[in-house]
């Protein structure tokens, strides 16, 4: 065992003195995580999302201004006041979600039975269905608040009721039976409002609906920041850097003649490869820890349960160490081994979510990704960091990673023995 450790420490010392190799193992993954984290952060991950809405108030009445004020108070809306043509241009270019025109007659609408509603025009790309639905809901919310105010202030309500009654009496195109029914209702309303005290809207008054809201948190965990997505990815890139560095170490031993000394030493092939593997594993685990510590201390990335995180790091490092030992025995030249290593790892990374997050991939690629250890590596790291995996959730992906690692190592030993 001492000889195996000596072999691992020697490889680590050589790696430490290879600045270029260290860049690809530690610095590149960090830059990857920071760069893509910053890029993805500029897009929304769904939480705290706001819609930019241009509002053009053509009526400029007290009622329309109150309506705009109510819209401004809605947290999920960002209201901009710009001319209509600018608003249309901004919507076309995707700089605004939509524009809303408060047309003349807005204040007259919505209070007359059988009459027109409040006159609004919403300009939005039909493809943005979700945004459209959300906006319609928010506009209804603001309009209902208008109605609520009407019933909270009896004097204002009475004035509106009497105005409605006058308009009803003058109306000629309403059926006499319906006219009489509406008149009876409005008169009753007028009397009711006359008797009702003025109550501030916030303290009660008459509500159209009595809605009790109950917060139900979604069970599916979400990353709190883009860095919680990019750092597990970056760890996989770090591990691929380890693959690149350590897979050529046997070829380097051959080239510098030291492989001959290892062959004549008392070490078996398994011990030689175990020494190489130990160095690779320690470097992989160290890089993963280093990246996660940086992410946690500097960027506030959660580290989850330490035991599960350790299991995730160890499983992933073992997997990639085993693969490295297999790649290391594939050829006899640096170019051959390095080419084979990258040639296998790049597609694995592409389909496994090492480049584009799995959640952004089409369904068929997500299925294909099951064949890539990169996917399982990212999954267990994300599971420990933000997916909230339990031990039982971790067992299957960790088992796959360990299996791949053990098979890779065994194939490497077999190849050396049969040389």
């Amino acid at each position: 065992m001492k000889a195996v450790i000596a072999l691992a420490l020697k490889d680590l010392r050589l790696l430490r003195r290879d600045g270029f190799g260290m860049f690809w193992i530690a610095a590149f993954p960090l830059l990857f995580a920071l760069f893509f984290g910053a890029v993805i952060s500029s897009f929304s991950l769904g939480e705290g999302r706001t819609l930019a809405l241009a509002v053009i108030d053509e009526e400029q009445s007290a009622g329309s201004k109150e309506f705009v004020d109510r819209l401004k108070k809605i947290a999920s809306l960002r209201i901009e006041s710009i001319p209509l043509d600018e608003a249309q241009q901004a919507v076309r270019k995707g700089k605004l979600a939509a524009y809303l025109v408060i047309q003349s007659g807005f204040g007259e609408g919505g209070v007359q039975f059988g009459g027109p509603g409040k006159k609004l025009e919403l300009g939005i790309d039909p493809a943005r269905r979700a945004d459209g639905a959300m906006l319609r809901g928010l506009l209804m919310q603001a309009a209902f608040a208008d109605m609520q105010e009407l019933f909270s202030d009896p004097a204002k309500g009475q004035a509106m009721a009497r105005k409605a009654l006058r308009e009803l009496e003058n109306a000629k195109d309403i059926d006499p039976f319906r006219k009489a029914t509406f008149a009876l209702f409005i008169k009753g309303l007028d009397e009711f409002l006359q008797a009702a005290p003025k109550v501030p809207a916030k303290k009660g008054g008459m509500n159209l609906i009595d809605l009790q809201e109950k917060a139900v948190t979604r069970e599916i965990e979400r990353p709190r920041s883009a860095f919680e997505v990019t750092f597990p990815q970056s760890i996989l890139w770090g591990l691929m850097g380890c693959v690149a560095s350590f897979s050529i170490s046997i070829v380097l031993e051959r080239n510098q003649g030291t492989f001959l000394r290892l062959r004549t030493s008392p070490l078996s092939w398994m011990q030689v490869l175990a020494g190489k593997a130990l160095g690779c594993f320690l470097t992989s685990a160290f890089v993963a820890l280093l990246l996660l510590l940086f992410a946690s201390l500097v960027l506030g990335v959660r580290l989850g349960d330490p035991a599960l995180l350790a299991l995730a790091i160890a499983s992933t490092a073992i997997c990639f160490t085993g693969l490295t030992m297999f790649f290391a025995t594939l050829g006899r030249t640096e170019a051959g081994v390095s080419g084979a290593g990258w040639g296998i790892m790049m597609p694995m990374s592409m389909i496994g979510g090492g480049m584009v997050p799995l959640m952004a991939m089409p369904r068929w690629m997500q299925i294909l990704s099951n064949f890539s250890p990169v996917k399982w590596g990212i999954l267990v790291l994300e599971g420990a960091v933000w997916r909230g995996f339990s031990l039982s959730d971790m067992l299957m992906p960790c088992g796959i990673l360990l299996g791949v690692g053990i098979v890779g190592f065994a194939l490497g030993v077999l190849r050396l023995r049969t040389e």
Binding site: Q256, G257, L260, R263, T264, S265, P266
Partner: protein
């Protein structure tokens, strides 16, 4: 210590080692002398357990298998190509290879110090190997083979490409090892090295051992006679018995007893102005055995 019987190794149709047999006594320095491609290094690598022989047997330190773990502790190899980590220091190289043979602690430090002294590199112990001259690397290459105190050391052309100073240092090191009782198998294509360092020499060519003996034995049995050249002051009188043909005043002949022939000429009263005796060497031996010069290879 080492017994080799009918060793054979072929690469396709090329017989690299073709029925080689020899034995090496404990504490003996033994040379395999021959041109490049003679099969010396292949023989050595089979002895070190790096290559498997196609046929034949090896008995090394009483064991038939040189790849056995116990046997490997007793063997040291200084390969023909340098086998060092250039990014490590001299001491780090020795420490690493020492640990492969279970050395540690004070014993390891002691061996590192001893081998650095032996190689004359004590003052460069903490320098990276990449900063060493070719000769220094050769000396360290030898030191690494000795760090674990092997009983048998295989030295494969240990002086290739080194400066005369380092070469002499390596010679002196090997002479000290020989004096200390180490068993040495030494391959070279330099006759003077084999002659200086080894008690017995096996001359190899085309995978075969052509002759194996001490230097004196090889010369005596395969070197032929000494060549003698004599210059007379005047042409010897007619009827004088001479050991060879006369060309003007110059006499050329070969003899296994050149001193006796020369004294016979002096006793005959002939006035000799100059004479030269060329005794047979390993070069002559090789020429006689193969029909070509070793240096031509």
């Amino acid at each position: 210590m080492i017994e080799v019987a009918d060793l054979q190794k072929a690469y396709g149709s090329l017989k690299a080692v073709d029925g080689v047999s020899f034995h090496v006594e404990r504490g003996e320095a033994f040379a395999l002398l021959g041109p490049n491609g003679a099969g010396k290094s292949t023989t050595l690598l089979i002895l070190a357990g790096v290559l498997a022989a196609d046929a034949g047997t090896i008995r090394l330190a009483g064991d038939l298998d040189p790849t056995k773990r116990d046997v490997r502790y007793k063997l040291g190899l200084a390969p023909q190509a340098l086998a060092l980590y250039e990014q490590l220091t001299a001491a780090e190289n020795l420490a690493f290879f020492g640990r492969l043979y279970d050395l540690s602690g004070a014993k390891l430090q002691e061996r590192i110090d001893a081998t650095l002294d032996l190689a004359g590199l004590a003052d460069r112990r903490n320098d990276y190997v990449k900063s060493f001259s070719g000769g220094m690397k050769r000396r360290l290459n030898l030191a690494v083979a000795l760090v674990h105190e092997p009983a048998v050391v295989f030295l494969d052309e240990p002086t290739v490409g080194v400066d005369p100073q380092s070469r002499n240092y390596i010679f002196e090191t090997i002479e000290r090892l020989r004096a200390a009782g180490l068993t040495i198998v030494y391959t070279t294509h330099y006759m003077e090295e084999a002659a200086r360092l080894c008690r017995r020499i096996a001359i190899m060519d085309h995978g075969k051992i052509l002759a194996l003996d001490t230097l004196e034995g090889l010369v005596r049995n395969h070197g032929g006679h000494a060549s003698v050249e004599v210059e007379f002051a005047e042409t010897p009188p007619a009827g004088t018995t001479l050991p060879g043909p006369l060309e003007g005043t110059k006499l050329l002949f070969s003899s296994d007893r050149p001193q006796e022939e020369l004294s016979r000429l002096f006793q005959a009263g002939l006035r000799v102005t100059h004479f030269d005796v060329a005794h047979p060497t390993l070069e002559t031996v090789f020429l006689n055995l193969t029909g070509r010069r070793l240096r031509d290879e």
